[in-house]
């Protein structure tokens, strides 16, 4: 049975080049839009997921304020003052991080030795799967150094979990913190924590901070991590720490105090700026696609006056003619959009699987992109539809006599 759809499809097939141009434009627009959206949403999800895996309410203090080098180092004394003088905090963990290569530890080839105390467990919600998070130290460097580290780092090691935490002494060769190998004893093994801000929390090896200070002959901390007792106090605690640190540093604001909330806000603000630029690019592409369908449909109306005249003569009302051309425009745009979604999904999937790095955070599944992508598709269809209404309206205004006379 002859239908409007079959007439539209035949006309599209006859004008293969023009149809292909519109479909290709829409497909490219949608594919690029999907990739860009996939990148934005993927990055946002990645970061928020990282943050959410870490204990809430944390604040961290680090040397320097972004504009100048620190005048005073961050010290354990500052951490102690914060713990004693700032209200509404539940834990304070001074951190001294030292990069270290550990070639003799089974598959673990690169670790960061972190001198800290047991508060870090609470702040970052570490879960102990064997042993305990005891970083107590007797101050004797000749004794094995107690360490706590991720169990996942030991998956290929010949020692079992039980053996690892049963008091075996592990010799740490080429530590970089001492001219001699340091003997260590594993006190606890931790469940996997994932990463935060690009730092893999599972490659950290925790040791007592005083031991690391002695080994490195340094008192400069890398961070002080603080946990507010309640998320409502994060801003207050941040302000109190800032005031205390300014006093400690004799009026110099040569440090930074950042909270989880401000970090999330900062990242989201940067993502929003990025999204604005991306949206501008996407809107430009959307307009180009809409222009393509407008131009092609205008040419189609001009070339198909006889067809329009015949349709009008045999009973096609103006609304029928308009609907016919809008149907064709819609079929072209929807075809392009479907191809674009497929193409974009394929490219995103390929990049995610093979390119690594930034691309590993892509969200190839369009259904996971949320309303933003769906809205873009809707806008794309709507703009194309509105643009094609002009030539469709022109077609509908043709009188049968006029259309057939001017052949």
């Amino acid at each position: 049975m002859t239908s409007r759809a079959s007439i539209a499809l035949r006309a599209m097939w006859r004008q293969k080049t023009r149809t292909g141009f519109v479909i290709a434009t829409y497909a490219a627009t949608v594919a690029v839009t999907l990739l860009l959206t996939s990148a934005i949403v993927g990055e946002e999800n990645y970061f928020l997921n990282e943050v959410s895996t870490v204990g809430a309410n944390w604040i961290y203090v680090y040397p320097g304020n972004g504009n100048s080098a620190p005048i005073y180092p961050l010290t354990e004394r500052a951490a102690g003052d914060i713990a004693r003088n700032v209200s509404h905090i539940s834990a304070v963990a001074p951190v001294m991080a030292v990069g270290l290569s550990v070639p003799s530890w089974g598959t673990a080839t690169s670790e960061d030795i972190v001198g800290t105390n047991s508060s870090v467990q609470e702040i970052f919600s570490y879960k102990v799967v064997a042993g305990n998070f005891n970083l107590g130290w007797n101050g004797n460097l000749s004794s094995p150094l107690p360490v706590v580290m991720a169990y996942s780092e030991w998956t290929d090691h010949s020692l079992s979990v039980g053996q690892l935490v049963s008091g075996n002494v592990v010799s740490l060769a080429g530590t970089g913190i001492s001219t001699k190998p340091v003997n260590m004893i594993i006190m606890g093994l931790l469940a996997p924590r994932g990463s935060l801000g690009g730092t893999n929390l599972d490659t950290l090896v925790f040791v007592p901070i005083q031991a690391l200070e002695n080994l490195t002959n340094s008192l400069s901390l890398t961070y002080i991590f603080v946990s507010a007792s309640n998320s409502n106090y994060v801003n207050q605690v941040s302000n109190d720490i800032t005031n205390l640190m300014v006093n400690l540093h004799k009026g110099y604001y040569d440090f930074s105090v950042t909270s989880e909330v401000s970090l999330v806000n900062l990242v989201q603000s940067e993502l929003n700026q990025f999204t604005s630029i991306i949206t501008l690019v996407e809107m430009t592409l959307l307009l180009l696609s809409a222009m393509s369908v407008f131009v092609v449909m205008t040419m189609a109306v001009k070339d198909r006056r006889r067809e329009i005249g015949v349709m009008r003569a045999i009973g096609g009302r103006r609304v029928d003619i308009m609907a016919q051309f809008l149907l064709e425009a819609s079929l072209m745009s929807v075809s392009g959009m479907v191809i674009g979604v497929g193409l974009g999904t394929w490219v995103a999937t390929y990049l995610k699987a093979n390119a690594g790095g930034f691309y590993s955070n892509l969200l190839p599944n369009p259904l996971e992109l949320g309303s933003y992508f769906a809205e873009l598709l809707g806008i794309l269809f709507l703009i194309g539809f509105l643009f094609s209404m002009v030539p469709a309206y022109q077609a509908s205004r043709l009188e049968a006599v006029e259309a057939l006379r001017n052949l």
């Binding site: 002859t2 239908s3 009008r312 003569a313 045999i314 103006r318 006599v401 052949l407």
Partner: protein
């Protein structure tokens, strides 16, 4: 409506342009086309016979006067209603066939039904029956207009005009683009349709074609007169 003529023009005048450039294409034309009548409208080019056909086919509106199709007054202002009337009551056959080359013969024949709104539950003839009526082999139904001859194309156009079971068939120089042999075939088709009770109006300047009609009228300078 059963007693009403297939088409009626009462004191119809059609003017084009304004002021000094005003042209009267039809001047106070009165015409009644009876049901089952085969009428030929003859006249030279520019005599107004195509304008008359457009009036009968609801493709144009009269400046003055009244036009009725199958008892229904043709609205002057409501294009949608006029088009609906055209789709339901009128079948057009053009000199240049005007088949759509993208569609098959079957699809061309069925094209008017795409726009048909309602037919009071009346069953319409199938494409097979329509090609039978115009003496075309059914195997042509799946071909394209470019794959058939001019005579066959015009018979497809007649089948298309009959698809909605119209009250009146309007033919504008239907043999104008055909050779003598094909013209005869087409006129045989019209003769057969007329014998079966179809109402046909043929506009032509060819007296031989007009001879097939039951009645002939002549157009000259916008005036209509009977031909004895």
């Amino acid at each position: 409506m059963d007693d009403a003529p297939a088409a009626l023009l009462e004191d119809v005048t059609k003017e084009y342009g304004e002021g000094p450039s005003r042209v009267e294409a039809l001047k106070h034309v009165n015409l009644t086309v009876r049901r089952g009548e085969f009428l030929a409208v003859i006249g030279a080019s520019g005599s107004g016979k195509s304008t008359l056909l457009h009036m009968l086919g609801c493709m144009d509106v009269a400046t003055h006067g009244k036009v009725e199709i199958d008892g229904h007054p043709v609205p002057k202002r409501n294009d949608s209603e006029r088009t609906r009337l055209r789709g339901e009551k009128i079948g057009f056959v053009f000199q240049s066939f005007y088949l759509l080359s993208d569609l098959t013969i079957r699809e061309n024949i069925e094209l008017p039904r795409v726009f048909l709104r309602r037919k009071n539950g009346q069953e319409l003839p199938t494409a097979e029956k329509l090609v039978d009526m115009v003496k075309l082999p059914r195997r042509l139904l799946n071909r394209r207009p470019t794959q058939i001859s001019g005579g066959e194309a015009q018979r497809v156009a007649i089948a298309r005009a009959l698809a909605n079971d119209p009250s009146i068939l309007l033919c504008d120089e239907p043999t104008g683009n055909l050779d003598t042999a094909n013209s005869k075939v087409i006129m045989d088709v019209f003769d057969n349709l007329s014998k079966d009770g179809a109402t046909i109006v043929v506009v032509t300047h060819n007296p031989a074609i007009a001879d097939h009609a039951m009645r002939r009228v002549s157009m000259k300078d916008g005036l209509l007169s009977d031909v004895p």
